[in-house]
């Protein structure tokens, strides 16, 4: 099971979505599919047509910058970051 950490900005958009969860997936892309199954519409908040990750959504797998096709290990840690700030 991969460990997934989601940004706080997602939680208010989807009922019952936790900040931290575990799921079975062999890639970042597949992990997002698992999320989409449980919270329809979530994938669109992180990806744009391509599909590619949205410009300011950064994903790290075991602390390395990742893309949708990045493979996940059984115990991978996946951090999804809303990466910009502003005023």
């Amino acid at each position: 099971m991969a460990e997934l950490y989601l940004p706080s900005t997602l939680r208010p958009l989807f009922a019952g979505l936790p900040r931290h969860l575990e799921l079975d997936a062999s890639s970042v892309d597949e992990a997002l599919d698992r999320l989409e199954e449980r919270w329809p519409g979530l994938r669109d908040r992180l990806c744009e047509p391509g599909p590619v990750l949205r410009r300011h959504i950064h994903v790290y797998v075991d602390r390395e910058r990742a893309a949708l096709e990045t493979a996940l290990e059984a115990r991978s840690r996946v951090d999804v970051i809303a990466a910009i700030s502003g005023g």
Binding site: P12, R45, P49, R54, I84, G86
Partner: protein, 358 residues
């Protein structure tokens, strides 16, 4: 007793203000929509729902909806995409509710529709093949703001007939629900070279008189214009205004000849001239203009108002509202004769709409 509901779209969420018919005291609620930048928030008179078009820097474009006047909100962008066409959707910039449908104007230029109250969307038209469309998706040709189609103006009696503004190109009309379009820019002036006289005009705001559907007004980049034939031809009515430039405009709900605008300096500042806030009104279809500033700041008020930043309610004595891009919201309950500031410290305001609700 009915209430007056003002919807304000800002850089950091949607806000709602409510008052009674007197419109003296206002209750402010918000921010809603999780603080997303909201480009346009509207009320659907048929269903009572509020819709708000937003685009988060992180999470993309989506359209929020509230069926309980702001108590709870949901958002959806399902179907809000160009699929395999190669076009990219960056934001939804204008919303319209009419005849049981919702329309959303988007950038890159396209019109989406929803028949299920904003739960799902589908592409209605990109105006492909219209003059100008061969180059308007080139980012190098897109005006600042990247609004695409900032507004869709419905015909109140004919569901298949509506007008769309393409930013930097002009107005297009369809009478067959988006299957075909006709440019409606005859008589407009441009202060720049244009290759095809049918398009190339920077129309900022288009409004229709509620009591005469052939009477349209528009504020564009270089002047005010009136049409008496539903946009087939336009006559300039700028004379008497302090500047030819502005964004916002509004039509009187009961008088076809009365119309409001907010002239701005045309340079980079795009604020009200001389730091003195004013709305201007014509009561004779543009033959003359009156300055309305009683209660508005007349010193050091360097404020601007964007294209959806003014609204007029439908009360017997109409109220007029405008919000500035620096977060002040002003209201008049007497057709613009006197004004008060009803919110002072909102985020920058992109849109103001008003509805009379039960």
């Amino acid at each position: 007793m009915s209430k007056t509901l003002v919807m304000v779209g800002t850089r950091k969420g949607c806000f709602l203000l409510e008052s009674d018919e007197q419109r003296r005291d206002w209750e402010l609620r918000g921010p809603f929509c999780e603080g997303w930048p909201i480009y346009h928030a509207i009320h659907d008179a048929e269903t009572g729902a509020i819709y708000a078009a937003g685009a988060s820097e992180w999470h993309g474009a989506s359209i929020w909806r509230s069926l309980d006047r702001g108590e709870t909100w949901a958002q959806s962008s399902e179907g809000l995409e160009y699929s395999d066409s190669g076009l990219k959707l960056s934001k939804v910039s204008g919303l319209t509710a009419a005849h049981g449908r919702l329309f959303a104007g988007a950038e890159m230029p396209g019109i989406f529709e929803s028949g299920d109250g904003g739960q799902t969307w589908k592409l209605l038209s990109t105006l492909e093949g219209q003059p100008g469309s061969e180059s308007w998706n080139d980012p190098a040709n897109q005006p600042p703001g990247h609004l695409g189609i900032p507004a869709i103006l419905p015909h109140p009696d004919d569901p298949s007939r509506y007008w769309a503004i393409v930013q930097g190109e002009g107005i297009f009309e369809t009478t067959d629900d988006g299957t075909s379009w006709t440019p409606r820019n005859r008589g407009l002036r441009a202060d720049w070279p244009i290759e095809n006289p049918e398009v190339g005009y920077c129309v900022h705001k288009l409004v229709m008189s509620p009591v005469d559907n052939d009477r349209l007004y528009q504020q564009n980049h270089v002047g005010m214009h009136r049409s008496d034939d539903a946009g087939v031809s336009w006559t300039e009515i700028t004379e008497g205004l302090p500047t030819e430039f502005g964004f916002a405009a509004g039509a009187h709900p009961h008088d076809r000849d009365t119309f409001y605008v907010i002239p701005l300096d045309p340079g980079h500042g795009r604020c009200m001239p001389e730091g003195r806030a004013a709305v201007w009104r014509t009561s004779d279809a543009g033959s003359s203009w009156q300055r309305l500033d009683d209660g508005l700041p007349q010193e050091d008020a360097h404020v601007g108002v964007l294209r959806e930043g003014m609204a007029i309610d439908g009360h017997e004595v109409p109220g007029v509202y405008f919000g500035t891009s620096t977060g002040q919201l002003f209201a008049s309950a007497d057709e613009g004769r006197s004004w008060s500031e009803i919110a002072s410290y909102l985020p920058g305001i992109a849109s103001v709409e008003v509805a009379i609700v039960d």
